[in-house]
């Protein structure tokens, strides 16, 4: 190989790149129990995405000062309920936080 290759921290770089490999899609094991879990994973991933987007939107408006106190109160209550409901659903289906993500190939991960 006739390249210039210079690295300040070979092991550190390898460690970070390994983390990327972790999110590659593995072969799907399509047994009946797994199909149900995979479907739940997909639905909850999308719900989680929407929940996070709503929260982010709320934060942007709060940061820019365009929310009244009443609105902050109401959004807070809604978000608290959504968050706890999502935690509940994850428990029911036995899913971890890291499992609720989608690899979009060249676009990286969904979240």
């Amino acid at each position: 190989m006739n390249q210039t290759i210079e690295s300040d921290a070979p092991e550190d770089f390898m460690a970070e790149i390994e983390k990327l490999q972790d999110s590659l899609p593995r072969k799907i094991n399509a047994s009946p129990e797994n199909v149900e879990k995979d479907l739940a994973k997909l639905v909850l991933t999308l719900l989680e995405l929407i929940r996070q987007l709503l929260e982010k939107q709320g934060m942007r408006r709060m940061d820019s000062g365009s929310l009244s106190d009443v609105e902050i109160e109401r959004l807070g209550e809604t978000f608290m309920k959504l968050e706890s409901k999502m935690k509940e659903m994850k428990t029911v289906f036995g899913l971890q936080d890291q499992e609720l993500n989608l690899n979009l190939g060249p676009l990286g991960n969904l979240m």
Binding site: I5, S7, P10, F13, M14, E18, D22, K27
Partner: protein, 72 residues
């Protein structure tokens, strides 16, 4: 083997694998790859670089279709 030599070789290998495993011309149709080979491609950098033990197993052929260490 000199420590520096190993490090340099590992970095070279990392950069090569980072490119050849899923970049370049990727053709989907007409490719004939067996189950074992698909496993090898999916194993990716983690197994290929960080596990000397697994490398040895790959070398002597004790990893076969069906018993890849990353199968769930």
């Amino acid at each position: 083997m000199d420590d520096d030599f190993i490090k340099r070789r590992d970095v070279t290998l990392l950069e090569i694998l980072d490119r050849v495993l899923d970049k370049g011309v990727v053709i989907s149709g007409d490719i004939v790859i067996s189950v074992a080979d698909v496993d090898l491609v999916y194993l990716g950098l983690r197994v290929l670089l960080s596990s000397v033990e697994t490398m040895e197993k790959l070398r002597i052929g004790t990893i076969e279709p069906g018993n890849s260490p990353l199968k769930e």
